[in-house]
Symmetry: C2
Subunit: 490 residues, 2 copies
């Protein structure tokens, strides 16, 4: 399985592509830029969904479903929104096929042309705010706290599995509030939930902060984000939470009668994470032997492999494994016993190593005699022999330890790859090497764009509670009061 597997050192980008496809997470489909998410990859996504869905519901949100199609005219209602998305819209123009004249093929039926073209949603603010207008009359109808799990389409020119695909899966929250304060509070609450999920489930440390005006969402007043650092020193935006002000309420004329009996525009937020998180998960932790999955998101947490020569040995092992498996499952640990006789133990060892299963147990006839079992950790690759008796308790603790260890390791990596720089030369050097580069910036989009032009680095975020200090912009030399986080990014 891990044969002919490119190392990170050799070619990070190729390492990632091979890992995603060879570990059965996803593959490219026949349609340009669209992926097939394979069962093993989808099982991880389902775990992500379940964890986040619970977090959303625990904070009062409900799920709903809005149409895939957006009438073209809706797009035009919010000026910056259309500007941001127009260039990547897939457009439905017809609704019927017919046989071609030679009778051999099929062609689009020109008689079935839509009067108004439909856009496949790249995000749903427009169709949702057109709906909210009907739902909101008075303050009694607020807040509306809705989330949607859906597919969206953005016609990307350069695509990569999970990181940037034409169609992707995501969740998008869309909330409506009486006041600006309440909407800002919601925006930050969801940012916290995303950070909590990234750190405590994915074991990926993230910076929380504000996007610069150049990088913010098309239609937002403020965009907040969580940013993670990948092993190649590039940043990955992992989730965004937008304070939309009254922009969409005004565009779609959504007003409510306040307690003071006045008609006011409604305040809005939207927030989303996508299957991009799968890319972050893979790139943050995996190594040259394959995936490394945090126990909380691993579809299989423990794999057990029998080592035997004779059929009766297998029978004895299987009997013992049955008990071990049950004891583990009682503790809500997911276990796979791989007793297939079509593959050798060595093959299975590298298979599960490659697929990032956190703990591997191996058991043979001698272990049965000794009441022992071999345990291997995927994160550290360490092996040890342990008593079978009470192994379920050891594993329960160990899974937590692995989860914590993976986070600590990723955090240490980020800390070692975060740099403060004060000169332009230093900046260029560090940006080339990779990592988060904390530098002063004069606050103008002009400078931001010039820095991007010259170095490909962007402002990833202006951290929340950012220390204020006197400094000079590394590019323009103009005065600045805080450092912002620069990096090259996915």
């Amino acid at each position: 399985m891990a044969k002919n597997f490119t190392t990170r050192e050799e070619n990070y980008s190729q390492w990632y592509n091979e890992l995603v496809t060879k570990a059965d997470l996803a593959e490219n489909s026949a349609v340009r830029g669209c992926m097939v998410i394979k069962p093993y990859g989808y099982a991880i996504w389902e775990k992500m969904q379940a964890a986040m869905d619970k977090m959303f519901k625990d904070t009062g949100h409900e799920n709903a479903y809005f149409p895939l199609f957006i009438p073209k005219s809706f797009f035009n209602k919010e000026a910056s929104h259309v500007k941001g998305f127009a260039k990547e819209c897939a457009v439905v123009t017809h609704y019927r096929l017919k046989s071609s004249e030679d009778g051999k093929g099929i062609v689009v039926d020109e008689d079935a042309k839509l009067e108004e073209e439909l856009i496949l949603r790249p995000t749903s603010e427009t169709v949702i705010w057109d709906t909210y207008r009907k739902w909101i009359q008075s303050y009694r109808d607020l807040p509306i706290l809705i989330n949607q799990w859906a597919n969206v389409v953005r016609w990307e020119m350069r695509t990569r599995l999970f990181l940037r695909t034409t169609e992707f899966l995501w969740q998008e929250g869309h909330t409506a509030h009486e006041t600006s304060e309440e909407a800002v509070e919601e925006t930050l609450k969801m940012l916290d939930i995303y950070a909590d999920f990234a750190e405590n489930w994915m074991a990926v440390p993230v910076l929380k902060g504000l996007k610069s005006p150049v990088e913010k969402f098309a239609g937002a007043v403020d965009t907040y984000c969580i940013e993670a650092l990948m092993q190649d020193g590039k940043a990955l935006q992992s989730g965004t939470s937008h304070f939309l002000g009254q922009n969409f309420a005004k565009a779609f004329d959504v007003k409510y009668l306040s307690k003071e009996n006045k008609l006011e525009y409604v305040w809005a937020t939207s927030w989303g994470v996508s299957t991009r998180l799968m890319g972050a998960l893979v790139m943050a932790h995996s190594d040259d032997k394959g995936l490394v999955l945090p126990p909380k998101l691993a579809p299989i947490q423990v794999v057990i492999i029998p080592i035997y020569k004779e059929p009766d040995q297998l029978e004895q092992i299987t009997e013992k494994v049955k008990i071990i498996k049950e004891n583990l499952e009682t503790k809500d640990i997911s276990v796979k016993y791989d007793d297939r006789d079509t593959y050798k133990p060595g093959w299975k060892f590298s298979e599960y190593e490659f697929k990032g299963v956190p703990i591997r147990l191996a058991i043979g006839p001698r272990d049965l005699e000794n009441g022992s079992i071999e345990l291997a950790r995927r994160d550290t690759l360490k092996k040890e022999i342990l008593p079978i008796e009470g192994i379920e308790n050891v594993i329960k603790k160990l899974l937590k330890e692995i989860q914590d260890n993976m986070f600590e390791k990723a955090l240490k990596f980020r800390e070692e790859n975060t740099f403060e720089v004060d000169t332009w030369d230093e900046f260029k050097a560090k940006i080339t090497e990779g990592g988060f580069v904390m530098a002063h910036w004069d606050g103008t989009p002009e400078t931001e764009l010039k820095i991007k032009e010259e170095t490909k680095a962007t402002i990833r975020t202006i951290p929340l509670n950012n220390p204020q200090e006197v400094g000079k912009c590394i590019y323009s030399g103009k005065p600045s009061t805080e450092r912002v986080v620069f990096a090259k990014a996915y």
Copy 2:
């Protein structure tokens, strides 16, 4: 809430539309034929999904995700498939918008025309079998047991909320097998799961059987279905399971090396249910006072409403309700306590009655004194006063009783509305009145189509284990060996 609510007697179709929208299940969107599934409706769909997803996984299926887009050429590979779906395909032809020449609007950018048009999946056999070709080499790769939860698009001319919408949500299973026998077994296994779900979760009795050649899926060898009877005497196809033979394997050239070292075409099944089930759920049970939901699928199983005049009374009630609620939740019963002061108890009573909450509890100051509580059942509308002590046990049992009662009631309705007829006149009369009409048919598509033309009735199903008997086709008078089920259908 239930004011101005049309009765079934007055206008069944209008009753349905009003019920779906006023009970906050779904509403029409700005896009023709597409619906917004509102939070209350979506919560029911989520419960349906969770129950079925578990059934699928318990029988060895895994979830995955395939692209929304299907290249036009894929469609043409299976002849009957393209014939069945070509007339209802939404087609993507362009991938970019641009500003119009006057600068005020946006238009499709003609420079961004796709070389090959993309179809929005009406079902995914083609894109999935194109993928399976890459996944299947030998018998070791089989079976593949995959399910997908997704949105699909069929451009319907006449749409109705849940029953027939341009975009709908569904699950589609696609499996690949070594032998015909194994594939047929899978087809029937999934049919059983659908019937189990319909009867034991939705409380809707269904007939299991085969579709006639005219009604079968475009591309299937055999289509099996579950058919339910609605209160207006019309049938509703609630799920289908297809034995696809080697049709798609041949169309997409999917072969495997057998144990005997021969190259063989793979055998296939596909099976699906959709948000249409929401329509069946509503129409099978609801009445002129609103929704009636089976406890297993009700988002709120018990609602508690306080009856009070003074704030301190509410305080005392709330204290007691807190305990009742906890006791119920310990038994996995979902409870809502509606202590809003913006609505009167009477309003709340009809609100929850309309929304089909299975059990309503009301509690006032006198109840507190007596240690009693008023319980109302939604299915029978019966009320009684019960001791608070141990109410959680009573309710636990009662929820099961309501679930069973709803099924029995629906079953009785179906039995009373299933008729055997032997003459054409009798047939026409019964079909007009509604219900399942069991009649002899000569087995030819010609007769089936003529009967449909003259009466709008279709063959809903040829039941499994259908009793064999000598008879004459009600239409042609030709000999027949079994009765089939006719009805008008949604």
